[in-house]
């Protein structure tokens, strides 16, 4: 199947989970769906690791794992319910397939660095892939980890910024300006590329470029929050809200 086709299924899985739970974060899950699909279906080799640092996009990770066959599709409706493996935010002890637990923002990059250091110590060629949210980089620890990755030349860390420019209370610009992101990352010693985060060729090319670098890579992926569902697109109101029956039906129709 083409990545484009898989990502459609991933989006449907995302909506199914959030609709079933009547809880979750559709906006930011839909915005990173194409990146996640590419990482899991095209990029990752055996032993590579993935960190969903913006853990609230858990539905996107589970959606991809379901398409990969790592979790059963029937399990998706247990999302966020009592005794489910599909916790609100990913938990590695609850679900095989989650490489790193996340949820408290700003911590994933540090963990990725640690795994990358372990790969280097063991002389393994593996990479660690990370997705960060744009609101998330308001957390100071992200910048501590940016320094660490550059300091130790962790060229096996390849991170994405899911740059949809919206967060809970409004746009990044309104809440806490993060721009200019490219210049910030560059000044921290990272190799930075800027792409369309919904264009599979661009995502793939950026990853291939990143693999050739001698330093850590940040791929600033311009994305659309709620991508794929017309009424959710670019609406910060859909950050953490579940669709009702009518909205769910409409959304699923759009994804056929």
């Amino acid at each position: 199947m083409e990545l484009k086709e898989i990502s459609k299924e991933v989006r449907k899985n995302i909506l199914l989970q959030i609709y079933s739970a009547q809880s979750g974060h559709p906006g930011g899950a839909l915005s990173c769906a194409d990146i996640l699909t590419t990482i899991y279906f095209k990029t990752m080799n055996d032993g590579d690791k993935f960190v969903l640092s913006k853990g609230h996009a858990s539905a996107a990770l589970y959606a991809v794992l379901a398409e990969k066959g790592i979790i059963a599709k029937e399990e998706l409706t247990s999302f966020r319910k009592l005794n489910s493996k599909l916790q609100g935010h990913p938990s590695l002890l609850k679900l095989n397939g989650v490489d790193v637990s996340s949820g408290s923002l700003g911590q994933g990059l540090s963990v990725a660095n640690g795994m990358a250091l372990a790969f280097k110590l063991d002389k393994k060629e593996n990479n660690v892939y990370v997705i960060l949210g744009d609101g998330e980089i308001q957390e100071g620890q992200v910048w501590e980890a940016m320094m660490t990755a550059a300091h130790y030349n962790l060229n096996n860390v390849i991170a994405f910024l899911d740059y949809n420019k919206l967060q809970i209370d409004g746009s990044n610009d309104e809440v806490m300006k993060v721009a200019p992101v490219k210049e910030k990352f560059e000044s921290f010693g990272w190799y930075v590329q800027e792409i369309d985060g919904h264009n599979f060729d661009e995502i793939n090319t950026a990853i291939e470029n990143a693999k050739k670098q001698e330093r850590p890579s940040m791929i600033v992926a311009n994305t659309i929050k709620g991508k794929g569902v017309s009424f959710m697109e670019n609406q910060c109101g859909w950050h953490g809200k579940a669709p009702n029956a009518e909205q769910y039906e409409q959304a699923m129709k759009e994804l056929i």
């Binding site: 938990s91 490489d99 250091l117 063991d122 980890a145 660490t148």
Partner: protein, 304 residues
């Protein structure tokens, strides 16, 4: 006389030979936490993360996920306070094999004052699920606990002190994780101590014996999981139960003992420690006197 942080540094450097997966991380305090010895011997397995304790804990978590046995070292105040969320959410929640070696705990930090004196760290770390909390009292017990930590799979908070204190144990002492060590079998009182206060309690035991007052001292080197059986046994066998710690009386050793006794064998417990206040600057032994956790203070409480 040797500080438990010194013993920690020596143990790491020594055990680093035997255990190749041990890696050490520090936050620009290697000369103070004594990880410097390991750094010199195994530079490729030592990572300075800079003055960034949150990143320190996260990076250690990643190394643990990569199969390493990381010791993340910094002062107790930063390990348990500054990086609490990282310890809770990234390390403990996933039961990652990270050893948090927290030096300079308690008021015995001394001159640096309240901002650097962790008086709540036992309380914070004890309440985190999956976390084992240990607080060795001397050189031998520290060296033992470091090797134990390497062999134990899971997160562990190791509380270490700045000042040099008396050596208590020798090569023949048998230590066991989760088991307290009873000194003597006096029935006049049980003094339960941990870390730097164990030596004080033992001194008090000696002094009191001169006056015919016979107490026993229990070294609780493992605060979590705590040795319930020994605590209950001692409460049953003695007239008084006293706890003494270089920590707040809220949430620390004293509270842990009260939790055990209130459920298993209701007993009055006198908690000696820092009484819900911040510390201050001063020499470490002056501070112990000021806050009332020395041998003399213990003797007074027993006599009363």
């Amino acid at each position: 006389m040797i500080a438990t942080r010194e013993s920690y540094g020596k143990a790491l450097a020594e055990l680093g030979e035997k255990y190749k997966d041990v890696v050490v991380l520090d936050a620009d305090l290697a000369t103070a936490t004594k990880t410097i010895d390991f750094k010199k011997k195994f530079p490729e397995r030592f990572f300075d993360i800079g003055i960034a304790e949150q990143d320190l804990m996260g990076t250690a978590a990643g190394l643990a996920l990569g199969g390493k046995i990381p010791f993340a070292s910094t002062f107790a105040i930063f390990a348990s306070g500054r990086a609490y969320d990282q310890v809770r959410n990234t390390i403990a929640y996933s039961k990652l094999n990270v050893k948090i070696a927290a030096t300079h705990a308690g008021i015995t930090v001394g001159e640096d004052g309240a901002s650097h004196q962790a008086l709540e760290d036992i309380s914070l770390m004890r309440s985190v699920p999956n976390m084992v909390v240990v607080s060795p009292a001397d050189d031998k017990s520290t060296k033992w606990i470091i090797e134990e930590a390497i062999n134990y799979n899971g997160p562990m908070y190791i509380r270490l002190a700045r000042p040099a204190t008396e050596e208590i144990y020798d090569e023949n002492t048998k230590f066991e994780l989760g088991k307290g060590i009873q000194h003597g079998d006096g029935e006049d009182a049980t003094v339960i101590a941990t870390g730097v206060t164990v030596a004080e309690a033992l001194k008090a035991k000696e002094e009191l014996a001169k006056d015919g007052i016979n107490i026993r001292v229990v070294d609780i080197h493992t605060i979590k999981p705590i040795d319930k059986d020994l605590i209950v046994k001692c409460a049953k066998e003695t007239k008084k139960v006293i706890t003494v710690e270089d920590h707040s009386i809220i949430g620390g050793l004293g509270t842990a003992v009260c939790e055990v006794l209130s459920e298993e064998y209701p007993t009055k417990v006198i908690r000696m420690g820092i009484k819900d206040e911040f510390g201050q600057s001063g020499k470490w032994n002056e501070l112990m006197e000021h806050y009332g956790i020395t041998s003399k203070n213990i003797q007074e409480i027993v006599r009363n």
